[in-house]
Each structure stands twice: as C-alpha cells, then as structure tokens.
Amino acid sequence: MIEIKGLTKRFDKITAVNNISATIQTGTICGLAGSNGSGKSTLLRMLSGVYEPDEGSIIVDGELNFENISVKGKSYYVSDYPFFSNGATLTKLASYLKNIYPNWDNEYYYNLCKIFRVNPKGKVINMSKGLQRQVAIILAFSTRPKYLYLDEIFDGLDPVIRQSLKKLIVENVADNNMTVIISSHNLREFNDICDSMLLLHQGEIVRCGGVEDMKSRAFRVQIAFNDEMSLDLFKGMDIRNMNQNGRLFSFIALGDEQDIGNHLQSFKPAFMEMLPLTLEEAFINEMEGVGYEVI
C-alpha cells in the first residue's frame, strides 16, 4: 500500500505539488490525470524516489521511500522520456539491471522479448519512440516490481502494443498483486484498466476515487418541456454547461443519478434523457469546476 501524506514539492517559486494526500491500495491500478503542469510527473518522480519531497512523506509498505533501497528494489519507474545511453542495447541494459534489481526475472525477460519483438542487440538510441518505450516496458516488467510507475507510457505505442501492454499490466496485477500508477492524458486507457484515479490541477487533487465513481458523478441531461420554462426551474441543482434551445435544455448535472432523475421528473418534462459522461467528459467537467475551461 502506498500512503501519500501532505506531499509538497516546490521548484523555486513554483509549487508543483501542493499538500497532496492519498492512499493507493496494493494490487490496484491508479490513473493519474490532470491538466498540463498539474504535477503528475513530479508526483511520479517522488513516488519512485527520484525527487525528495519538500514536505510530507510517501510511505510504501510502511517504509519511507526516499533513498530506501529496499523500497526502490521492488519499484520501477518508466519516465515520460526514458533515458538510454548512446551505446545501450536491450541486452546490455538487461545485464546491468539484472545486477541492480533483486527480483530480476530472466525467464520473464526472454518471454517479454518475444512478445514485444525488439532487437535486443540494436542500439536503443537509434530506435523509434515506440520501440524505445517497448524496451523500457520489457525492462520494467523483468524486474518484477511490486510497484510500477508509468509516465505517459501509452504515448507512441501502436494499438496492438497498447493492448498488449494493458493485458500485461492487468495480468501482473491479477497474478502478482502488482500496484501500478499510470499517468496519461489519454483517458480512454484509464477507462479500460484503472481501478481508481487521481485528478490533479495546479499541484492539488481535484478528485480522487474509483473510475466508475468519477463517471457516475455527473450526467449529460437533455430535457424538453411542453411549455415555456424559465432557467430558474433548475435552481438548487448542481449543473454546468447549460444550453437552452427553445423549450429544450441540455446541461451536465452533478450528483446522484437517482436524485437527479427524480428531481427532473417532478417538472413533468415532455422528454428527458440522462446519459453518464465518458471519462474524458467527466475529466473536462471536473476541470471546469476548478476554473480550467475549454476556450
């Protein structure tokens, strides 16, 4: 289990992460979403022990993670731009990490090499962005991490590899009780695999919870009346993006599905439709709630 307590990280005058607290359960997949510069990568770097928090702490399995060799030995971090030195090949990197990570699994490494079909003798630096990601993925899973931190990992991968990666993540979570934290701007991937999500904006948590909870917190509503109705009708409801076209109203309503439905039915509409938001819509909706709106 990962416990994040009052985590703050500043870069000179900029506070990248501001007093974040959250708990991520073992054996779950947590998505990190947020606006650009919201602190996702900084949070991942602190989780992986690259950055030291200015305030607060990260406790992994009851131990502080920073400069903790045993915690780091069961974690692996794939950054948004994985580093490969000039002469590095997959084979060389594997032989290096084999001596560094205590749980390195050679057999699994060879299996992964077959799945991802990367030339193990080729210079990684000369490979495409997608192939470099695949190299990073092979190495990451071969270390058999208990905690895996992936920053924009789907970026640059083709749909087949993306699907393979998702499968791999889910298998590892199911079979090995691995905990995965993924940051991405592609929320469709979260929809497929994430159990929970942390929504960040300007270094703070906007929303934290299960993916389904996030989606079921808001609904796209279309409602039409036989008579002219005033907007005052919806006073007291938590609604956004109100559009009126004659007697037809469309908006996003926040709250419990049952409560919203019952409330709107009480106005005796001629027509009413309530649809759950996609994760992306839910994300935009949440962001609008904190003043980060689509221009």
Binding site: G49, V50, I69, S79, P82, Y96, N99, P102
Partner: protein, 643 residues
C-alpha cells in the same frame, strides 16, 4: 542485494563506457613515452650499423627526455583525459532524463557516485602507472627513481583533478557550467595568487621579494600544479630547475594533493546526498562555488584592468608625485569598476544563460567592488604601516643585514651577511633604516602605486649612451664602491617575531644618500669578515694601489696562486686585528685588495667579492706585497682595465 554488488556493477559499467576513449588515452601515452624511447633505441641500433643517420639523437638525450616525457606527456594527457572523463562520467547529474533513471534505481546516490568516481580514477591513473613502468623498462630502468617520483606526483595531481571536477559537477546544474567553473578555477586562481603575491612585491617598497611559491600559486589548479610541481619550485631564489627528492616543497606537494583529494571526495560524498535531483539542467545545485568563482574572477579581472588603464593613462609629464598619484587612482577606480562589472555581467550571462536574477546578483558585484578597492587602498596607502614601520631599538634583539647580490652561501650560510646583537650597531642600522623609509614615503607621496617615473628608469647595461664603469675602474678612479643592488634587513625582535624588509635597486638613489655611513657601519661591525669565508674558497686576489705613501705609484697586481693568496690573507688578518677597519676614503691614502671567492663545492655556484681597504698602517700587508707578490706586468686579460 548488497551495495558492494551495486558498486561493482556501476564501476564496471562506467569503465566499459569509456573503453573507446581509454584506448585513445593508452595509445597516446604509449606512443609518446615508451614510443619515443623505443625510437631512440632503434635509432641508436641503426646508427651503430650506419644506415640511418637522420634519426641520430644527440648524446645524452635519453636521460632528460625520459623525465620530460613523463612530465609533459603523462602529466598533460593525464590531466586532460581525467578532466574529460570526469566531466562525462558525472554529467548524469546534469541530465534530467538520466537522473530519472539513476534516481529511481535501488542504489544509494552515494554508492552510485562513488562507484563512478572510482572508475574515473582507475581509468585515468592506471594507464599512467603502467605506461611509466613500461617506458622505464624500455630504457632499461635508467633514472627509474626519478621517473617513479614524477609518476607519483602526476598521479597525486590527477586524483586531485578528478575530485575537483567531482565537486564542481555536484555543485553545477549543467556540464557547461562545470567546465566553465573548472577552467576559471584552473586559470583565475593562479592569476589571483600571482597578483596577490606580485602586486605588493612590485609596488610596495620593502616587501620581501615574491611572496608566493609554486605550491601556493597552484593549490587549486591541478593543470598548473602538474607542471610547476614537477619542473620547478619558485622560491625566493628564483627558479630552481628540477628539484628532485623529498624536500619540504615536495612533501608539502604530496600532502596537499592527497588532502585535497580526500577532502573534496568527502565533501562530494556529503553533497551528493543533499543535492536535489531537480537541479539538473539548472544553473547550479549549490551556489557557494559560483559565488566564490565569480567573486575572485571579477576582482582579478577588475584589478588587472584597473592597473592596465592606470598604467596607460596616468602618466602626467612634468607633474609632481601627488598629481601622478591622484590621476592614477582616478583612472584605476574607473578601470576597476568597469572591468569588474563587465566580468560580473559576462559571468552571469554564461552561468545563467541570460539576464535572469541579475538584479539580485548585483549585491555580489557591490561586495566585489568594496573588497577589491579595500585591498587596493589598504596596500596602496600602506594602511597597516608596513612601509614606514621601524622597530624600537629596545625591542630589537639582533639585526641581520646583507647587500643584495653579495651573498656567499656555503651550506646554506651566507658568509657575507652581517648579523649582530651589538646594541650600538643595531641603533645605527635602525637610524639608517629610518632615514630610508622616511625618504621613501616622501618620494612616493605616501601612496605606493605602480605610477611610472617615480623613480628614474633603470640604466640599460647595454645602452650605448651608458658610460660603462665597473668595479675596477671605480676603485682605481673614484675610490668609491659601486652601489650594491639594494639590501635586505631583518630585525629579530625580543618577542620572537621578526621584521624583514627587502629593497631592490629601485631605491638606489635613496640608499646612496646613506651609503657611506652604512658601508662604514657594515664594515666596522663585520670585523671578522675577512676571516669568515674559508680561505679555500678564495679564487684570486686583485690589488689596487692608489697611494704614493707606501712607495708605489698607482699600480695593480693580480694572483691566483694559492700560496700567495694564503700568505697575503694571513698578513691582512694580522693587520686587521691590530689596526681595524680603515674608513678614510680620501683619495691618495688608499689601497684596496679585492678578493674573489668562488664556491664550486656545492650544487649551487656562488661568487663573492670582498674588498679590503688599507693604508700605510697595514705594515704586514704592504711588506708581503712588496716582497712576494707585486707583479709589475699584469696579466693580459686585465690590461683593458689599466690606463
């Protein structure tokens, strides 16, 4: 997993990465050191069979070349290579992407860093050791101890060099800033130290020669130290070529570079834990070295710029010393401020890649200006009273006095130096010294600045217009000694401290005023002078007779006969004890004997010339001259000095 395994993994990984560069390093070392030796051996062999004349090396080439090659080739390549691989090996600290990888590895930052450091040390030092041994083997281990000593010196400095790059890398945010800082330290530090040493020596009368030695000038500059520490030590006696062996300077050299290396590695081990990963690709991770480097660079350049402008623009013809001083100070101030500011600005642009936070850093510029000018005015106005300080006679236990260029040193003892505890003599010397310093102060207008023409330009010895006179003409025609090249005086005080002042020939016109009295004091006090220098060092005698009273016209005699020298010296000593020093220089009542001493027994050749004046009361001397050694026809070599 044990950290030792991590250490080994990172160590070998680092070594592997540098294999291509290392091959070049080994190759260059091997080509130049054993390579040239092998070429020499080959040429000797071929010369023996008479087939390759062109490759003939001069006789005795091998010995010195072995030593020079070790110094120049191994030293130079060692320093350059170690700096390059250290810059590359520690560049991971300056790359955010690499730090993401390294920082997340289950290896402590310290272990990771120290493993890389050890690898760099091994990569840079092992080839020097192996190549030096191989090179020595090629020449049949000729001069082996010396070669090994040079190798040790080079290895010590390479280790220091790597640890310097190591600390700078940790403190820097970018490789460029690390390199710039390294270059600035390497060149600005010696320049600053030379300035600190040379400026007072050059412009403040009495400062004891060059204050620095090679070790202190290159303490923070391995690239300079590898050569100065190897080839020479700059001492008060000047360049001392090839000072081999474990003298005090060498011992200090080793201790310093070992301590330097250990301390910097210790600091690195502490700082690497404190260094924030996110400082990669920023200007710096720790600001202290930058402040120090900028501070010294700005002051150094400002000072040199100010002095340069002052020298160029401060010459006001036909003006008095006060107006010259004021002009110099005004020009210096403008120059100092301009050069310091420009340096400060350029360094900011380089380090910060722009003008960001420049206003904040102006505080440092203010400090630089204040400190630089304080140093300048403290020295120039003699704020500490160095120039005019003369101890009280009651505080002085003994005095040591010697004319410059008049030393005769045997086993470290200067036989021509006056050392006395006689209070009367001390008082006389103090009075003389007081007169000199007061005159100096008056002549300088109380300011000690590099203003031209405070003293008349020195006469060029080879100047066609200069009327050549030498000691012989002077004795014969003027009966007055040519002025010595300044003097050195040391007061040993009763509290155990000492006051030493050195005056060069620039104050000759002042000393001249007091010279007759001073010479008299010197001669009278140094009554045993004639007997002090062992007679076996007397090379020859020249006798100048300018007195009719002993029965001869002006005449000259010369001998290098050992028995005659001994006999005449014996007679002189006898008279000297009986009559004492003759201080009457009036023409017509004067003879003198010039004794030339040469010391060829020690490594350092020294020469001294003693002048013994006498008159008709020196009966034994005159008798000996008459009977034993008067030569009417002087040797041909000396005829040019005769009328």
């Amino acid at each position: 997993m044990k950290s030792s395994k991590h250490f080994k993994t990172i160590f070998f990984d680092t070594v592997k990465r540098f294999i291509p560069l290392s091959i070049a390093y080994w190759g260059l070392l091997a080509f130049f050191f054993p390579g040239i030796e092998a070429l020499y051996e080959l040429s000797t062999m071929l010369n023996n069979i008479g087939s390759l004349y062109i490759l003939k090396f001069p006789s005795g080439f091998l010995g010195p070349m072995s030593q020079f090659e070790v110094c120049i080739v191994c030293g130079f390549f060692g320093i350059v290579f170690s700096a390059i691989i250290a810059f590359i090996a520690f560049s991971y600290l300056h790359n955010k992407r690499q730090m993401d990888f390294v920082g997340s590895l289950p290896v402590s930052r310290r272990t990771h860093f120290l493993a890389r450091l050890t690898a760099v040390m091994a990569l840079a030092i092992v080839p020097v050791i192996v190549v030096t041994f191989t090179g020595s083997a090629v020449v049949g281990f000729a001069g082996f101890p010396r070669t090994m000593e040079l190798m040790l010196r080079i290895c010590a400095v390479i280790a220091g060099n790597i640890s310097l790059v190591c600390v700078l890398s940790i403190c820097s945010g970018t490789v460029a800033n690390t390199v710039i800082s390294y270059v600035l330290i390497s060149f600005i530090y010696p320049m600053f130290m030379l300035l600190v040493g040379i400026y007072p020596t050059a412009f403040v009368p009495g400062v004891n020669e060059f204050l620095m030695n090679a070790n202190s000038v290159t303490l923070l500059s391995p690239i300079s130290a590898v050569f100065t520490g190897t080839f020479s030590t700059i001492s008060n006696d000047g360049m001392d070529n090839f000072s081999f062996g474990f003298d005090a300077g060498t011992v200090f050299f080793y201790i310093w570079w070992v301590v330097f290396t250990v301390v910097l590695i210790g600091i690195s081990a502490i700082l690497i834990k404190k260094r924030k990963t996110e400082r990669a690709q920023n200007s710096y991770a720790f600001v202290a070295p930058y402040v120090v480097i900028r501070f010294f660079t700005s002051i150094c350049v400002g000072f040199l710029g100010g002095l340069l402008l002052g020298e160029i623009f401060s010459v006001v013809p036909d003006s008095n010393v006060d107006s010259k001083n004021i002009t110099f100070i005004a020009v210096f101030l403008i120059g100092f401020i301009i050069f310091t500011f420009i340096t400060h600005l350029i360094m900011h642009l380089i380090y910060h890649k722009g003008m960001g936070k420049f206003a904040k850093w102006l505080i440092l510029f203010g400090v630089e200006a204040v400190v630089g000018l304080s140093i300048f005015f403290t020295i120039s106005t003699d704020a500490i009273g160095y120039v005019t300080y003369v101890p009280s006679v009651n505080d002085v236990k003994s005095v040591e006095f010697s004319f410059n260029d008049h030393e005769f040193i045997i086993d470290g003892v200067d036989y021509n130096k006056l050392k006395t505890e006689d209070k009367a003599v001390i008082e006389k010397i103090l009075n003389f010294h007081k007169g000199v310093v007061n005159d100096i102060k008056e002549k300088h207008g109380g300011m000690y600045l590099p203003v031209r023409y405070i003293y008349p330009p020195m006469v060029d010895y080879y100047d066609e217009d200069f009327e050549y006179t030498d000691v012989y003409d002077d004795y014969r025609n003027n009966i007055r000694l040519v002025m010595p090249n300044g003097y050195t005086i040391k007061f040993n005080l009763k509290d155990g401290s000492s006051v030493k002042r050195y005056y060069d020939s620039s104050i000759q016109s002042i000393v001249e005023k007091y010279y007759s009295d001073l010479y008299k004091i010197f001669k009278t006090a140094n009554v045993n002078e004639i007997g002090k220098i062992p007679q076996e060092y007397a090379e020859d005698l020249e006798v100048f007779i300018n007195m009719d009273s002993i029965g001869y016209d002006n005449d000259y005699s010369y001998t290098d006969n050992e028995n005659k020298i001994r006999g005449l010296m014996k007679a002189i000593k006898k008279d000297y004890r009986k009559v004492g020093y003759i201080s009457d220089f009036s023409r017509g009542n004067y003879c003198c004997i010039v004794v030339n001493y040469e010391n060829e027994y020690s490594d350092e050749y020294s020469f001294s010339q003693e002048v013994i004046e006498f008159d008709s009361r020196y009966v034994n001397t005159i008798k000996y001259l008459k009977e034993k050694m008067f030569v009417k026809n002087p040797p041909q070599d000396y005829s040019e000095y005769m009328e």
